[in-house]
Symmetry: C2
Subunit: 441 residues, 2 copies
């Protein structure tokens, strides 16, 4: 749980202090100006990715005084991969991407914040089609080469005409990239833009992987969604890229929970332009030349997903939950998620209380094999419970001091097998309730 | 969701205003003096049950200035049934009851508040054995005829010696019943004692069913558990009683959730003394003479479980969730529970926001068959979403007025089949977080 990289506040100038900021700004925007105390201290320099050009615009979808549309133009030959929400009620853009992805090729990505285009019926599908058409016309590609993502209010029809007014300008201005501006355009209740970068050798070529993400709550005040987009100049076929992305998700984005609520719009996509000088064309995910690339990709995905936990709505503590000694990794994951999603565990951590009784409860309710009398529990590296009872050496003062830190590690050892897993979450504070419940009053 | 029955506050006099109330009273006690605004307006007169004698005492387990032990003495011939937590880490008393219940006979029940005797290892098992021994000695029965339940702190060894000082007195004072005093002795963070009563004909006999319960959070501040005990003077065999109780639980106690956190100690037990004048001895749950009894039992279980939802920690709204048109009742239950346990739905209701987008999210994440474009949603009887989009007749003012009521009904129609179910929950407020997180600070 190491920190990342410069003063985050500079990125907010145009959110809270923009001269054009309207007095009609919604309360949600006002909230976003208080940056999470868990925000990374440093933001990395984000290099350009050959074959990727970016532009942002303020289309006025919902917000005033800030950008809310991102266009990424991708050179011909770019492959695509995607992992989407498991929701049975997915948003229109998720369905659009699933269909479009069957070709495995991409020329453009359009992302908007302020409206999720979810639960919008036929008009939602039409908004997707319209957006893809105007994008393809402006960018000189086919509508089926355009990927779409939306985050914001659910159930409000998305007025895609708003994109019509900005699309020509976006295409004209698109240039090798300001990824931080891109990350900022897709924020909703996020309190900081989320970016990460890594490099790796593929064969003899140096390739770069850049990622951006937005998170906050799984659904924020009236708004929605985890979105993340990864770009690389490596040359990797669509099917291989899909395998890499899916494998990479298991222990990163799928191992993070804010509130257990899965959005209708969760989208993680990856694009590979193949424009890195001398990059060999890889067609199998198992290709040994991808070893360093896989590691770098994992680093980007893990970094971005940790940033999402750090920016959980109302979060004041980053919480790592490690479960070991389970009968399998899957069992360890289920137990870790049961702990991570327990309101009682999360409120205890907000209260700086090493309440291991609630951890026992969460282990017990997971439905996975567990033997109470073999169970041991650590908070912040201090063993508080051992073999089914309070640790004989338990010292309240030592444990209380550990609980005051902004990053808390909670470990459970089941003593049954070799299954181990790790998930990240945050605490449940009154601010979470305020953000998600108070804004009407 | 009809209200029940006299001013609740009279029952609290001896909690908050007792002359013996110690200045060392814990903060949890102080909290409990604010009665839930959802508390029933009326409490029924609780008749005695032939064959049941009750007594309460202050053993000083954790609380000062209030009763914390309940003894119920049961006449010879009393049958018993029980339904317990599905937790894989159950408390010592739950394990004790499961074993003892194999005989299906009962002579005594001892319940304490203040300590759950959960996750207490070998000392927990010894505390159960010791308590059963001193009870059996004082009551003149076998240790295997004694049932036990504990609620309170997890992980602290239960000092069962405290019962030794009060047991002779409890047995001496036990008399046909003050069920309200009994319900009060088992409270932890409950803000009101929970009782219910009903009568029914079995054959030509008039029988009575009385129940008491305690709830609050599934685990309250540092404390635990839903407990409920039902007493009847009907004559029903142990196996038949077990079937009746199990069947009765499905749509009552198992259809209530406060926070999705399942206690290590949840216990629902039922005792039938067979002492009602002229009561025929029933040995099969399917006996047609039980028709009215089953209905009366369902009423008692439904009433008590609704009171638990009304006293959810920090609750300001009682929420009924009805799911219909699902592919099966089980599917409807899973979807209803996904909605009822969603922090985002619960915080929206706390904010008096008919946020049906979050309901769509919760339906989608349940993993059950659902077709977004057939989905309709009602808040307080007003249809807000229809066939996959916002209802054309949606009127914000009308819906907002409905959301201000203390009891909210939320209905989802899936349009797929005939599966229907109903669960009860409450909203998620800042008070919940305060009760469960703030007490250390």
């Amino acid at each position: 749980m190491a920190g990342l990289v410069p003063a985050i506040d500079v990125f907010y100038a145009d959110v809270s202090d923009a001269p054009g900021a309207s007095p009609a700004m919604t309360p949600e925007i006002a909230m976003s100006t208080t940056i999470s105390p868990l925000a990374p201290l440093h933001v990395p320099d984000m290099p350009a990715i050959a074959g990727v050009r970016l532009a942002t615009a303020a289309a006025g979808i919902r917000y005033a005084g800030r950008t809310d549309v991102l266009l990424a133009l991708l050179d011909a030959g770019t492959t695509a991969a995607g992992v989407f929400t498991r929701s049975k009620c997915p948003s229109a853009p998720v369905e659009w991407c699933r269909t479009t992805l069957q070709k495995g090729k991409a020329r453009a990505l359009v992302v908007n914040s302020g409206n999720a285009n979810a639960f919008t019926g036929k008009s939602g599908r039409e908004a997707c089609k319209f957006t893809a058409q105007i994008t393809s016309r402006a960018a000189g590609c086919k509508p089926g080469d355009v990927f779409l993502a939306s985050t914001g209010v659910i159930g409000e029809p998305l007025k895609a005409q708003a994109f019509d007014g900005v699309m020509e300008g976006l295409v004209a201005r698109a240039q090798p990239g300001d990824f931080i501006a891109a990350a900022r355009a897709i924020m909703t209740t996020d309190t900081f833009p989320k970016v990460a970068t890594a490099t790796a050798k593929v064969g003899k070529a140096n390739v770069t992987i850049n990622g951006i993400a937005k998170g906050a709550g799984m659904i924020a005040p009236d708004m929605a969604t985890m979105l993340s987009f990864i770009f690389t100049d490596a040359a990797i076929s669509g099917p291989a890229l899909q395998t890499l992305l899916k494998d990479g998700t298991t222990d990163t984005f799928n191992a993070v929970t804010i509130d257990g609520d899965t959005s209708t719009s969760d989208t993680l996509m990856m694009f590979a332009t193949g424009k890195a000088s001398g990059s060999p064309r890889i067609t199998r995910a198992a290709d040994p030349r991808l070893k360093a690339f896989k590691k770098a990709l994992h680093g980007v995905l893990a970094n971005l997903s940790e940033q999402i936990a750090r920016d959980g709505e109302g979060a004041r503590k980053l919480v790592e939950i490690v479960v070991e000694g389970a009968v399998s990794k899957i069992s360890a994951r289920r137990i870790a998620m049961s702990i991570a999603n327990s309101p009682l565990v999360k409120t205890a951590i907000a209260g700086e209380d090493a309440n291991w009784g609630r951890v026992v409860m969460a282990v017990g309710k997971a439905g996975e094999p567990a033997d109470r009398d073999k169970l041991s529990i650590w908070f912040g590296g201090i063993r508080v419970a051992h073999k089914g009872a309070r640790d004989p050496g338990y010292d309240e003062a030592t444990v209380s001091a550990a609980m005051k830190k902004p990053e808390i590690s909670l470990k459970v050892a089941l003593g049954l097998g070799k299954g181990r897993d790790r998930v990240l979450t945050c605490d449940l504070t009154k601010e979470y309730v305020a953000i998600n419940g108070d804004y009407r009053s």
